[in-house]
Protein backbone atom coordinates (compact mmCIF):
# COMPACT_ATOMS: atom_id res chain seq x y z
CA UNK A 1 0.00 0.00 0.00
CA UNK A 2 1.24 3.46 -0.89
CA UNK A 3 0.73 6.87 0.64
CA UNK A 4 -2.12 7.66 -1.77
CA UNK A 5 -3.87 4.36 -1.11
CA UNK A 6 -2.86 2.73 -4.39
CA UNK A 7 -1.10 -0.61 -4.49
CA UNK A 8 2.13 -1.18 -6.38
CA UNK A 9 1.72 -3.75 -9.08
CA UNK A 10 5.36 -4.73 -8.83
CA UNK A 11 6.88 -5.69 -5.53
CA UNK A 12 9.70 -3.39 -4.51
CA UNK A 13 12.02 -6.35 -4.32
CA UNK A 14 15.01 -4.56 -5.79
CA UNK A 15 16.80 -2.31 -3.36
CA UNK A 16 17.55 1.07 -4.88
CA UNK A 17 21.02 1.35 -6.36
CA UNK A 18 23.49 3.33 -4.34
CA UNK A 19 23.70 6.94 -5.47
CA UNK A 20 26.73 9.09 -6.24
CA UNK A 21 25.06 11.81 -4.20
CA UNK A 22 22.09 11.81 -1.84
CA UNK A 23 19.59 14.64 -1.46
CA UNK A 24 20.17 17.33 1.13
CA UNK A 25 16.42 17.74 1.58
CA UNK A 26 13.31 15.86 0.48
CA UNK A 27 9.63 16.72 0.60
CA UNK A 28 6.20 16.09 -0.82
CA UNK A 29 3.70 18.50 -2.32
CA UNK A 30 0.02 17.65 -2.64
CA UNK A 31 -2.39 18.97 -5.26
CA UNK A 32 -5.98 17.71 -5.47
CA UNK A 33 -4.99 14.83 -3.23
CA UNK A 34 -2.12 13.76 -5.47
CA UNK A 35 1.20 13.63 -3.69
CA UNK A 36 4.38 14.42 -5.61
CA UNK A 37 7.80 13.72 -4.07
CA UNK A 38 10.73 16.09 -4.61
CA UNK A 39 14.42 16.21 -3.70
CA UNK A 40 16.92 19.05 -3.34
CA UNK A 41 20.66 18.72 -3.77
CA UNK A 42 23.28 21.41 -3.21
CA UNK A 43 22.67 25.14 -2.87
CA UNK A 44 24.60 27.09 -5.51
CA UNK A 45 22.96 29.63 -7.78
CA UNK A 46 21.10 29.49 -10.12
CA UNK A 47 18.70 26.75 -9.13
CA UNK A 48 18.23 24.00 -11.69
CA UNK A 49 14.88 22.22 -11.93
CA UNK A 50 15.01 18.75 -13.48
CA UNK A 51 11.58 18.02 -14.92
CA UNK A 52 9.97 14.60 -15.08
CA UNK A 53 9.49 12.98 -18.46
CA UNK A 54 6.91 10.37 -19.40
CA UNK A 55 6.00 8.44 -16.23
CA UNK A 56 7.48 5.29 -17.71
CA UNK A 57 10.55 6.33 -15.67
CA UNK A 58 11.13 8.60 -12.68
CA UNK A 59 13.64 11.14 -11.46
CA UNK A 60 16.55 8.70 -11.30
CA UNK A 61 16.76 9.36 -15.03
CA UNK A 62 18.89 12.35 -13.98
CA UNK A 63 21.30 10.26 -11.91
CA UNK A 64 24.28 11.27 -14.01
CA UNK A 65 23.43 14.97 -14.01
CA UNK A 66 22.61 15.47 -10.32
CA UNK A 67 26.06 14.78 -8.81
CA UNK A 68 27.76 17.03 -11.38
CA UNK A 69 25.28 19.89 -11.32
CA UNK A 70 24.88 19.87 -7.54
CA UNK A 71 28.55 20.73 -7.07
CA UNK A 72 27.77 24.20 -8.39
CA UNK A 73 24.00 24.55 -8.22
CA UNK A 74 20.93 24.03 -6.15
CA UNK A 75 19.27 21.15 -8.00
CA UNK A 76 15.64 20.14 -7.59
CA UNK A 77 14.18 16.97 -9.05
CA UNK A 78 10.77 15.37 -8.60
CA UNK A 79 9.13 12.13 -9.59
CA UNK A 80 6.37 12.75 -12.11
CA UNK A 81 2.97 11.54 -10.93
CA UNK A 82 2.61 7.92 -12.00
CA UNK A 83 6.06 6.65 -11.00
CA UNK A 84 8.76 6.71 -8.35
CA UNK A 85 7.74 8.00 -4.94
CA UNK A 86 4.85 10.04 -6.34
CA UNK A 87 1.21 8.94 -6.47
CA UNK A 88 -0.55 7.00 -9.22
CA UNK A 89 -3.89 8.82 -9.56
CA UNK A 90 -6.51 6.67 -11.30
CA UNK A 91 -7.78 9.02 -14.05
CA UNK A 92 -6.33 10.10 -17.38
CA UNK A 93 -7.08 13.76 -16.64
CA UNK A 94 -4.71 13.62 -13.67
CA UNK A 95 -1.85 13.05 -16.14
CA UNK A 96 -2.60 16.09 -18.30
CA UNK A 97 0.49 18.07 -19.31
CA UNK A 98 -0.95 21.04 -17.41
CA UNK A 99 -0.95 18.95 -14.21
CA UNK A 100 2.75 18.18 -14.52
CA UNK A 101 3.45 21.88 -15.11
CA UNK A 102 1.35 22.77 -12.06
CA UNK A 103 3.25 20.18 -10.01
CA UNK A 104 6.49 21.84 -11.08
CA UNK A 105 5.26 25.24 -9.91
CA UNK A 106 4.07 23.73 -6.62
CA UNK A 107 7.48 22.13 -6.08
CA UNK A 108 9.16 25.47 -6.85
CA UNK A 109 6.86 27.18 -4.31
CA UNK A 110 7.45 24.52 -1.67
CA UNK A 111 11.22 24.92 -2.06
CA UNK A 112 11.05 28.75 -2.19
CA UNK A 113 12.42 28.71 -5.71
CA UNK A 114 11.54 31.93 -7.43
CA UNK A 115 13.25 31.13 -10.73
CA UNK A 116 15.13 28.19 -12.13
CA UNK A 117 16.89 26.88 -15.17
CA UNK A 118 14.52 24.13 -16.30
CA UNK A 119 15.87 20.96 -17.91
CA UNK A 120 13.59 18.51 -19.70
CA UNK A 121 13.87 15.19 -21.49
CA UNK A 122 11.57 13.89 -24.23
CA UNK A 123 7.92 14.41 -23.17
CA UNK A 124 9.16 16.69 -20.45
CA UNK A 125 9.48 19.25 -23.25
CA UNK A 126 5.69 19.61 -23.32
CA UNK A 127 5.30 20.49 -19.64
CA UNK A 128 8.52 22.52 -19.81
CA UNK A 129 7.15 24.53 -22.71
CA UNK A 130 3.98 25.25 -20.69
CA UNK A 131 6.15 26.68 -17.91
CA UNK A 132 8.35 28.75 -20.20
CA UNK A 133 5.43 30.20 -22.15
CA UNK A 134 2.92 30.78 -19.32
CA UNK A 135 5.32 31.48 -16.43
CA UNK A 136 8.25 33.22 -18.05
CA UNK A 137 9.07 34.99 -14.80
CA UNK A 138 9.87 31.64 -13.14
CA UNK A 139 12.13 30.30 -15.91
CA UNK A 140 15.69 31.63 -16.30
CA UNK A 141 16.56 29.30 -19.15
CA UNK A 142 15.27 26.15 -20.83
CA UNK A 143 17.18 23.03 -21.79
CA UNK A 144 15.28 20.58 -24.00
CA UNK A 145 16.93 17.15 -24.40
CA UNK A 146 15.44 14.98 -27.17
CA UNK A 147 12.27 17.12 -27.13
CA UNK A 148 9.10 15.23 -27.95
CA UNK A 149 7.08 18.02 -29.51
CA UNK A 150 4.97 17.42 -32.61
CA UNK A 151 6.71 20.09 -34.69
CA UNK A 152 7.79 17.51 -37.27
CA UNK A 153 6.40 14.09 -38.19
CA UNK A 154 7.49 10.98 -36.37
CA UNK A 155 9.78 8.46 -37.99
CA UNK A 156 7.71 6.29 -40.36
CA UNK A 157 8.24 3.11 -38.30
CA UNK A 158 6.75 4.83 -35.28
CA UNK A 159 3.44 5.59 -36.98
CA UNK A 160 0.81 3.57 -35.13
CA UNK A 161 0.59 0.03 -36.44
CA UNK A 162 -2.40 -0.57 -34.21
CA UNK A 163 -4.92 1.73 -32.61
CA UNK A 164 -3.68 2.16 -29.06
CA UNK A 165 -6.81 0.76 -27.40
CA UNK A 166 -7.79 -1.82 -30.05
CA UNK A 167 -6.62 -5.42 -29.86
CA UNK A 168 -3.39 -5.40 -31.83
CA UNK A 169 -3.09 -7.01 -35.25
CA UNK A 170 0.58 -7.60 -34.60
CA UNK A 171 2.91 -7.65 -31.60
CA UNK A 172 6.17 -6.97 -33.40
CA UNK A 173 8.30 -3.86 -32.98
CA UNK A 174 6.33 -0.65 -32.57
CA UNK A 175 3.07 -2.63 -32.70
CA UNK A 176 3.87 -3.24 -29.02
CA UNK A 177 2.87 0.37 -28.44
CA UNK A 178 -0.63 -0.78 -27.52
CA UNK A 179 -2.68 -1.03 -24.31
CA UNK A 180 -3.40 -4.74 -24.79
CA UNK A 181 0.24 -5.48 -25.47
CA UNK A 182 1.27 -3.58 -22.32
CA UNK A 183 -1.21 -5.53 -20.19
CA UNK A 184 -0.08 -8.84 -21.64
CA UNK A 185 3.69 -8.32 -21.54
CA UNK A 186 4.63 -5.07 -19.88
CA UNK A 187 8.28 -5.98 -19.42
CA UNK A 188 8.50 -7.02 -23.07
CA UNK A 189 7.28 -3.57 -24.08
CA UNK A 190 9.74 -1.85 -21.73
CA UNK A 191 12.65 -3.86 -23.09
CA UNK A 192 11.68 -3.07 -26.68
CA UNK A 193 11.02 0.60 -25.99
CA UNK A 194 14.28 1.25 -24.18
CA UNK A 195 16.28 -0.70 -26.74
CA UNK A 196 14.92 1.86 -29.21
CA UNK A 197 15.68 4.76 -26.87
CA UNK A 198 19.27 3.56 -26.48
CA UNK A 199 20.21 2.81 -30.05
CA UNK A 200 23.91 3.28 -29.30
CA UNK A 201 26.26 0.31 -28.90
CA UNK A 202 27.18 -0.70 -25.33
CA UNK A 203 23.91 0.46 -23.79
CA UNK A 204 23.03 -2.60 -21.73
CA UNK A 205 23.39 -0.73 -18.44
CA UNK A 206 21.14 2.26 -19.20
CA UNK A 207 18.59 -0.13 -20.73
CA UNK A 208 18.63 -2.26 -17.59
CA UNK A 209 18.24 0.84 -15.40
CA UNK A 210 15.33 2.19 -17.42
CA UNK A 211 13.49 -1.13 -17.56
CA UNK A 212 13.86 -1.36 -13.78
CA UNK A 213 12.36 2.12 -13.32
CA UNK A 214 9.59 1.22 -15.74
CA UNK A 215 8.69 -1.77 -13.60
CA UNK A 216 8.16 0.56 -10.64
CA UNK A 217 4.93 1.67 -12.26
CA UNK A 218 2.38 -0.50 -14.04
CA UNK A 219 0.66 -0.77 -17.42
CA UNK A 220 -2.68 0.64 -16.20
CA UNK A 221 -0.99 3.83 -14.99
CA UNK A 222 0.95 4.13 -18.21
CA UNK A 223 -2.24 3.64 -20.27
CA UNK A 224 -3.79 6.58 -18.40
CA UNK A 225 -0.80 8.77 -19.24
CA UNK A 226 -1.23 7.88 -22.89
CA UNK A 227 -4.90 8.97 -22.84
CA UNK A 228 -4.22 12.22 -20.97
CA UNK A 229 -4.67 15.67 -22.53
CA UNK A 230 -1.51 17.02 -24.20
CA UNK A 231 -0.57 20.56 -25.24
CA UNK A 232 -2.29 20.82 -28.61
CA UNK A 233 -1.32 20.64 -32.25
CA UNK A 234 1.68 22.02 -34.14
CA UNK A 235 0.20 25.52 -34.37
CA UNK A 236 -0.49 25.63 -30.65
CA UNK A 237 3.07 24.51 -29.96
CA UNK A 238 4.53 27.12 -32.32
CA UNK A 239 2.43 29.81 -30.68
CA UNK A 240 3.86 28.82 -27.31
CA UNK A 241 7.41 28.73 -28.71
CA UNK A 242 6.93 32.32 -29.88
CA UNK A 243 6.15 33.33 -26.30
CA UNK A 244 9.34 31.85 -24.88
CA UNK A 245 11.59 34.74 -23.89
CA UNK A 246 14.36 32.97 -21.97
CA UNK A 247 17.51 31.53 -23.59
CA UNK A 248 17.02 28.00 -24.90
CA UNK A 249 19.37 25.08 -25.43
CA UNK A 250 18.22 22.03 -27.38
CA UNK A 251 20.31 18.84 -27.14
CA UNK A 252 19.33 16.15 -29.59
CA UNK A 253 20.81 12.80 -30.58
CA UNK A 254 21.61 12.44 -34.25
CA UNK A 255 20.16 8.92 -34.22
CA UNK A 256 17.10 9.51 -32.03
CA UNK A 257 14.60 6.80 -32.98
CA UNK A 258 11.86 8.00 -30.63
CA UNK A 259 11.55 11.63 -31.61
CA UNK A 260 13.44 12.68 -34.73
CA UNK A 261 16.33 15.10 -34.68
CA UNK A 262 14.27 17.33 -37.01
CA UNK A 263 12.00 18.09 -34.05
CA UNK A 264 14.93 19.41 -32.05
CA UNK A 265 16.02 21.55 -35.01
CA UNK A 266 12.49 22.92 -35.38
CA UNK A 267 12.25 23.71 -31.66
CA UNK A 268 15.60 25.52 -31.66
CA UNK A 269 14.45 27.60 -34.64
CA UNK A 270 11.07 28.38 -33.12
CA UNK A 271 12.57 29.45 -29.79
CA UNK A 272 15.68 31.16 -31.24
CA UNK A 273 17.68 28.64 -29.23
CA UNK A 274 20.99 26.91 -29.69
CA UNK A 275 21.07 23.32 -30.95
CA UNK A 276 23.72 20.83 -29.82
CA UNK A 277 23.66 17.57 -31.76
CA UNK A 278 25.10 14.43 -30.17
CA UNK A 279 26.42 12.64 -33.25
CA UNK A 280 25.23 9.05 -33.28
CA UNK A 281 23.32 9.69 -30.06
CA UNK A 282 19.95 8.14 -29.29
CA UNK A 283 16.93 9.45 -27.42
CA UNK A 284 18.35 9.74 -23.90
CA UNK A 285 21.84 11.19 -24.30
CA UNK A 286 21.90 12.43 -20.71
CA UNK A 287 22.10 8.77 -19.63
CA UNK A 288 24.22 7.47 -22.50
CA UNK A 289 26.59 10.40 -23.09
CA UNK A 290 26.43 12.15 -19.72
CA UNK A 291 29.77 13.93 -19.99
CA UNK A 292 28.86 15.60 -23.29
CA UNK A 293 25.43 16.56 -22.02
CA UNK A 294 26.73 17.85 -18.70
CA UNK A 295 29.36 19.99 -20.41
CA UNK A 296 26.73 21.42 -22.78
CA UNK A 297 24.54 22.28 -19.78
CA UNK A 298 27.52 23.82 -17.98
CA UNK A 299 28.32 26.03 -20.98
CA UNK A 300 24.69 27.07 -21.28
CA UNK A 301 24.30 27.96 -17.60
CA UNK A 302 27.59 29.83 -17.68
CA UNK A 303 26.34 31.88 -20.62
CA UNK A 304 23.10 32.63 -18.76
CA UNK A 305 25.02 33.90 -15.79
CA UNK A 306 27.12 36.18 -17.99
CA UNK A 307 23.96 37.49 -19.65
CA UNK A 308 22.37 38.17 -16.26
CA UNK A 309 25.47 40.06 -15.10
CA UNK A 310 25.39 42.15 -18.27
CA UNK A 311 21.69 42.82 -17.69
CA UNK A 312 22.34 44.04 -14.16
CA UNK A 313 25.25 46.28 -15.13
CA UNK A 314 23.53 48.00 -18.05
Amino acid sequence: MRADGSVRSEPADRPEQTRARYPDETGVIERDGVRVAWERYGDGSPTILLMPTWSIIHSRLWKQQIPDLARRHRVIAFDGRGNGRSARPPTAEAYAEAEFAADALAVMDATSTERAVVITLSMGAQRGLLLASDHADRVAGMVFIGPSLALQPRAPDREAVNEFLEPPVSDEGWAKYNAHSWRRDYRGFLEFFFSQCFSEAHSTKPIEDAVGWGLETDPETLILTELAPGIGDRDAILARCARVTCPVLVIHGGDDRITPHARGEALARATRGRLVTIEGGGHIPNARDPVKVNLAIRDFVGRLERLERLGRSS
Binding site: A201, H202, T204, K205, E208
Partner: protein
Protein backbone atom coordinates in the same frame (compact mmCIF):
# COMPACT_ATOMS: atom_id res chain seq x y z
CA UNK B 1 61.71 -0.62 -31.24
CA UNK B 2 63.58 -2.93 -28.94
CA UNK B 3 65.10 -6.19 -30.11
CA UNK B 4 64.25 -9.40 -28.33
CA UNK B 5 66.76 -12.18 -27.62
CA UNK B 6 66.22 -13.83 -31.02
CA UNK B 7 66.10 -10.65 -33.08
CA UNK B 8 62.31 -10.28 -32.90
CA UNK B 9 61.47 -6.58 -32.88
CA UNK B 10 59.35 -5.36 -29.99
CA UNK B 11 57.44 -2.07 -30.33
CA UNK B 12 57.14 0.00 -27.18
CA UNK B 13 55.70 3.35 -26.14
CA UNK B 14 56.69 5.69 -23.32
CA UNK B 15 54.26 8.17 -21.77
CA UNK B 16 54.84 10.93 -19.23
CA UNK B 17 57.52 11.39 -16.63
CA UNK B 18 57.84 10.75 -12.93
CA UNK B 19 59.12 8.13 -10.54
CA UNK B 20 58.76 5.32 -10.12
CA UNK B 21 58.35 4.24 -13.74
CA UNK B 22 55.60 1.70 -14.35
CA UNK B 23 55.91 -0.98 -17.05
CA UNK B 24 52.71 -2.65 -18.21
CA UNK B 25 53.35 -6.12 -19.62
CA UNK B 26 51.29 -7.31 -22.59
CA UNK B 27 49.09 -10.38 -22.70
CA UNK B 28 50.52 -11.59 -25.98
CA UNK B 29 49.98 -12.79 -28.54
CA UNK B 30 46.22 -12.78 -27.91
CA UNK B 31 46.03 -8.97 -27.48
CA UNK B 32 48.47 -6.06 -27.49
CA UNK B 33 49.39 -3.06 -25.40
CA UNK B 34 46.04 -1.30 -25.84
CA UNK B 35 44.74 -3.67 -23.20
CA UNK B 36 46.08 -1.02 -20.78
CA UNK B 37 44.14 1.88 -22.31
CA UNK B 38 42.25 2.35 -19.05
CA UNK B 39 45.52 2.75 -17.13
CA UNK B 40 47.90 4.71 -19.40
CA UNK B 41 46.20 8.14 -19.32
CA UNK B 42 45.77 8.02 -15.55
CA UNK B 43 49.24 6.86 -14.55
CA UNK B 44 51.14 8.88 -17.14
CA UNK B 45 50.00 12.05 -15.36
CA UNK B 46 52.40 11.27 -12.52
CA UNK B 47 54.65 8.47 -13.76
CA UNK B 48 56.79 7.47 -16.63
CA UNK B 49 54.71 4.70 -18.18
CA UNK B 50 56.10 2.09 -20.57
CA UNK B 51 53.90 -0.25 -22.60
CA UNK B 52 54.88 -2.64 -25.37
CA UNK B 53 53.25 -5.00 -27.80
CA UNK B 54 54.20 -8.58 -27.09
CA UNK B 55 55.61 -10.70 -29.88
CA UNK B 56 52.88 -11.93 -32.19
CA UNK B 57 50.56 -8.91 -32.02
CA UNK B 58 50.34 -5.15 -32.41
CA UNK B 59 53.30 -3.46 -34.04
CA UNK B 60 55.80 -6.07 -32.90
CA UNK B 61 57.08 -8.86 -35.11
CA UNK B 62 54.95 -11.95 -35.48
CA UNK B 63 57.09 -15.06 -35.47
CA UNK B 64 55.29 -18.30 -36.25
CA UNK B 65 57.60 -21.03 -34.91
CA UNK B 66 56.85 -22.38 -31.41
CA UNK B 67 60.43 -21.78 -30.19
CA UNK B 68 59.80 -18.06 -30.54
CA UNK B 69 57.15 -18.29 -27.84
CA UNK B 70 59.22 -20.07 -25.25
CA UNK B 71 59.03 -18.60 -21.77
CA UNK B 72 62.57 -17.23 -21.90
CA UNK B 73 61.86 -15.24 -25.04
CA UNK B 74 59.03 -13.31 -23.35
CA UNK B 75 61.21 -12.59 -20.33
CA UNK B 76 63.96 -11.52 -22.74
CA UNK B 77 61.56 -9.11 -24.45
CA UNK B 78 60.77 -7.43 -21.15
CA UNK B 79 64.50 -7.12 -20.44
CA UNK B 80 65.08 -5.64 -23.91
CA UNK B 81 62.32 -3.05 -23.42
CA UNK B 82 63.68 -2.11 -19.98
CA UNK B 83 67.15 -1.65 -21.49
CA UNK B 84 66.06 0.17 -24.62
CA UNK B 85 63.92 2.64 -22.68
CA UNK B 86 66.75 3.09 -20.14
CA UNK B 87 64.41 2.05 -17.36
CA UNK B 88 66.71 1.02 -14.53
CA UNK B 89 64.02 0.09 -12.07
CA UNK B 90 60.27 -0.06 -12.43
CA UNK B 91 57.02 -1.29 -11.01
CA UNK B 92 55.73 -4.11 -13.22
CA UNK B 93 52.01 -4.57 -13.85
CA UNK B 94 50.74 -7.69 -15.59
CA UNK B 95 47.64 -9.76 -16.23
CA UNK B 96 47.31 -13.54 -16.55
CA UNK B 97 50.25 -15.78 -17.35
CA UNK B 98 51.75 -13.54 -20.04
CA UNK B 99 51.95 -10.66 -17.62
CA UNK B 100 52.16 -12.11 -14.14
CA UNK B 101 54.37 -15.12 -14.66
CA UNK B 102 56.89 -13.23 -16.78
CA UNK B 103 56.99 -10.37 -14.29
CA UNK B 104 57.73 -12.85 -11.53
CA UNK B 105 60.47 -14.53 -13.53
CA UNK B 106 62.09 -11.22 -14.40
CA UNK B 107 61.89 -10.05 -10.78
CA UNK B 108 63.66 -13.19 -9.63
CA UNK B 109 66.34 -12.95 -12.32
CA UNK B 110 66.84 -9.17 -12.02
CA UNK B 111 65.80 -8.27 -8.47
CA UNK B 112 67.58 -4.90 -8.62
CA UNK B 113 65.39 -3.73 -11.49
CA UNK B 114 61.96 -4.49 -10.08
CA UNK B 115 60.52 -2.24 -7.39
CA UNK B 116 57.26 -4.12 -7.12
CA UNK B 117 54.70 -6.19 -9.01
CA UNK B 118 50.96 -5.80 -9.40
CA UNK B 119 49.62 -9.18 -10.47
CA UNK B 120 46.10 -9.20 -11.93
CA UNK B 121 44.30 -12.49 -12.58
CA UNK B 122 47.20 -14.62 -11.50
CA UNK B 123 48.34 -16.90 -14.26
CA UNK B 124 51.18 -18.95 -12.93
CA UNK B 125 51.11 -22.21 -14.88
CA UNK B 126 51.09 -25.46 -12.87
CA UNK B 127 50.63 -23.62 -9.56
CA UNK B 128 47.20 -25.26 -9.24
CA UNK B 129 45.22 -27.26 -11.82
CA UNK B 130 43.70 -25.12 -14.57
CA UNK B 131 39.95 -24.78 -15.04
CA UNK B 132 38.51 -28.08 -16.35
CA UNK B 133 37.45 -26.49 -19.67
CA UNK B 134 41.10 -25.78 -20.44
CA UNK B 135 42.15 -29.33 -19.66
CA UNK B 136 39.60 -30.71 -22.12
CA UNK B 137 40.26 -28.09 -24.77
CA UNK B 138 44.06 -28.21 -24.73
CA UNK B 139 44.02 -32.00 -24.95
CA UNK B 140 42.15 -31.74 -28.25
CA UNK B 141 43.92 -28.60 -29.51
CA UNK B 142 45.25 -30.23 -32.69
CA UNK B 143 42.23 -32.45 -33.40
CA UNK B 144 39.96 -31.93 -36.34
CA UNK B 145 36.96 -32.07 -34.06
CA UNK B 146 33.45 -32.69 -35.42
CA UNK B 147 31.90 -29.77 -33.52
CA UNK B 148 33.18 -26.47 -32.27
CA UNK B 149 30.73 -25.58 -29.57
CA UNK B 150 31.88 -23.76 -26.46
CA UNK B 151 35.46 -24.37 -25.40
CA UNK B 152 35.96 -26.82 -28.28
CA UNK B 153 36.69 -23.62 -30.19
CA UNK B 154 40.07 -23.66 -28.42
CA UNK B 155 41.42 -25.66 -31.33
CA UNK B 156 44.08 -25.05 -33.98
CA UNK B 157 42.06 -26.16 -37.03
CA UNK B 158 39.13 -24.04 -35.86
CA UNK B 159 41.35 -20.99 -35.34
CA UNK B 160 42.48 -21.28 -38.95
CA UNK B 161 38.87 -21.70 -40.02
CA UNK B 162 37.22 -18.91 -37.99
CA UNK B 163 39.51 -17.16 -35.53
CA UNK B 164 37.15 -14.17 -34.98
CA UNK B 165 34.48 -16.56 -33.74
CA UNK B 166 36.90 -18.03 -31.21
CA UNK B 167 38.02 -14.57 -30.12
CA UNK B 168 34.46 -13.41 -29.50
CA UNK B 169 33.58 -16.61 -27.66
CA UNK B 170 36.72 -16.40 -25.55
CA UNK B 171 36.37 -12.78 -24.48
CA UNK B 172 32.66 -13.13 -23.81
CA UNK B 173 33.45 -16.15 -21.66
CA UNK B 174 36.16 -14.44 -19.60
CA UNK B 175 34.34 -11.09 -19.32
CA UNK B 176 31.12 -12.40 -17.88
CA UNK B 177 30.11 -9.35 -15.84
CA UNK B 178 26.96 -7.61 -17.09
CA UNK B 179 27.47 -4.54 -19.31
CA UNK B 180 30.81 -5.67 -20.72
CA UNK B 181 30.07 -5.24 -24.41
CA UNK B 182 32.63 -2.48 -24.91
CA UNK B 183 35.44 -4.31 -23.11
CA UNK B 184 34.64 -7.43 -25.15
CA UNK B 185 34.51 -5.58 -28.47
CA UNK B 186 37.87 -3.95 -27.77
CA UNK B 187 39.59 -7.21 -26.86
CA UNK B 188 38.14 -9.03 -29.88
CA UNK B 189 39.39 -6.27 -32.16
CA UNK B 190 42.94 -6.42 -30.73
CA UNK B 191 42.90 -10.18 -30.96
CA UNK B 192 41.61 -10.39 -34.52
CA UNK B 193 44.26 -7.86 -35.54
CA UNK B 194 46.97 -10.23 -34.35
CA UNK B 195 48.35 -13.35 -36.00
CA UNK B 196 46.57 -16.71 -35.95
CA UNK B 197 49.87 -18.43 -36.77
CA UNK B 198 51.49 -16.77 -33.77
CA UNK B 199 48.58 -17.80 -31.58
CA UNK B 200 48.89 -21.41 -32.67
CA UNK B 201 52.66 -21.40 -32.26
CA UNK B 202 52.30 -19.93 -28.77
CA UNK B 203 49.70 -22.55 -27.82
CA UNK B 204 52.03 -25.36 -28.94
CA UNK B 205 54.83 -24.43 -26.54
CA UNK B 206 55.40 -26.90 -23.76
CA UNK B 207 55.72 -25.20 -20.41
CA UNK B 208 59.16 -26.17 -19.12
CA UNK B 209 58.55 -26.40 -15.37
CA UNK B 210 56.57 -28.56 -12.98
CA UNK B 211 54.74 -27.37 -9.91
CA UNK B 212 57.79 -27.55 -7.70
CA UNK B 213 59.74 -25.53 -10.21
CA UNK B 214 57.21 -22.69 -10.39
CA UNK B 215 56.75 -22.68 -6.62
CA UNK B 216 60.49 -22.31 -6.14
CA UNK B 217 60.56 -19.31 -8.46
CA UNK B 218 57.50 -17.69 -6.86
CA UNK B 219 59.01 -18.17 -3.41
CA UNK B 220 62.16 -16.38 -4.56
CA UNK B 221 60.38 -13.08 -5.24
CA UNK B 222 61.80 -10.45 -2.89
CA UNK B 223 60.06 -7.29 -4.04
CA UNK B 224 56.68 -6.12 -2.73
CA UNK B 225 53.73 -7.50 -4.66
CA UNK B 226 49.99 -6.94 -4.80
CA UNK B 227 47.76 -9.71 -6.10
CA UNK B 228 44.30 -8.92 -7.50
CA UNK B 229 41.96 -11.69 -8.65
CA UNK B 230 38.24 -11.86 -9.45
CA UNK B 231 36.14 -14.40 -7.61
CA UNK B 232 34.50 -15.33 -10.93
CA UNK B 233 37.67 -15.55 -13.01
CA UNK B 234 36.92 -18.11 -15.72
CA UNK B 235 40.41 -18.02 -17.24
CA UNK B 236 42.62 -18.42 -14.17
CA UNK B 237 41.40 -20.19 -11.02
CA UNK B 238 41.45 -18.02 -7.93
CA UNK B 239 43.25 -20.88 -6.19
CA UNK B 240 46.35 -19.78 -8.09
CA UNK B 241 46.15 -16.29 -6.61
CA UNK B 242 45.69 -17.72 -3.13
CA UNK B 243 48.64 -20.03 -3.55
CA UNK B 244 50.83 -17.23 -4.90
CA UNK B 245 49.85 -15.14 -1.90
CA UNK B 246 50.87 -17.98 0.45
CA UNK B 247 54.21 -18.45 -1.30
CA UNK B 248 55.16 -14.80 -1.40
CA UNK B 249 53.35 -13.29 1.58
CA UNK B 250 51.87 -10.72 -0.82
CA UNK B 251 48.40 -9.40 -0.02
CA UNK B 252 45.57 -10.70 -2.19
CA UNK B 253 42.56 -8.55 -3.11
CA UNK B 254 39.68 -10.80 -4.12
CA UNK B 255 37.28 -8.76 -6.25
CA UNK B 256 33.78 -10.04 -5.60
CA UNK B 257 31.92 -10.89 -8.80
CA UNK B 258 34.75 -9.92 -11.13
CA UNK B 259 35.90 -12.12 -13.99
CA UNK B 260 39.30 -12.14 -15.70
CA UNK B 261 39.83 -8.71 -17.27
CA UNK B 262 39.81 -6.49 -14.20
CA UNK B 263 41.98 -3.63 -15.60
CA UNK B 264 39.80 -3.41 -18.73
CA UNK B 265 36.43 -4.01 -17.11
CA UNK B 266 36.94 -2.26 -13.76
CA UNK B 267 39.56 0.40 -14.59
CA UNK B 268 38.82 2.72 -11.68
CA UNK B 269 39.14 -0.07 -9.16
CA UNK B 270 42.29 -1.37 -10.85
CA UNK B 271 43.83 2.08 -11.02
CA UNK B 272 43.18 2.88 -7.37
CA UNK B 273 44.71 -0.45 -6.32
CA UNK B 274 47.81 0.16 -8.45
CA UNK B 275 48.05 3.76 -7.22
CA UNK B 276 47.88 2.78 -3.56
CA UNK B 277 50.42 0.03 -4.09
CA UNK B 278 52.85 2.41 -5.80
CA UNK B 279 52.40 4.94 -2.99
CA UNK B 280 53.11 2.27 -0.41
CA UNK B 281 56.46 1.60 -2.11
CA UNK B 282 57.50 5.20 -1.60
CA UNK B 283 56.74 4.91 2.11
CA UNK B 284 58.63 1.66 2.45
CA UNK B 285 61.84 2.53 4.33
CA UNK B 286 63.71 -0.36 2.69
Amino acid sequence: MATGPDGVRIAYEVFGTGDPPIVFLPSAPIVHSRQWKGQVPYFSRRHRVVTYDGRGNGRSDRPTEPEAFADDRFVGDLAAVMDDTRTDRAVLVGLCSDGVWRAIRYAVEQPDRVLGIVAFAVGVPRLTPPHPHYVTATAAFEDDAPTHEGWARYNAPFWRHDYPDFARFFFEEITSEPHSTKAIDDAVEWSVGGSVDSMIADARVDFPLDREGVEAICSAVRCPMLIVHGTEDSCQPIARARRLSELTGAPLVEVEGADHMIPGRHPVLANLLIRDFVRSLARDPS
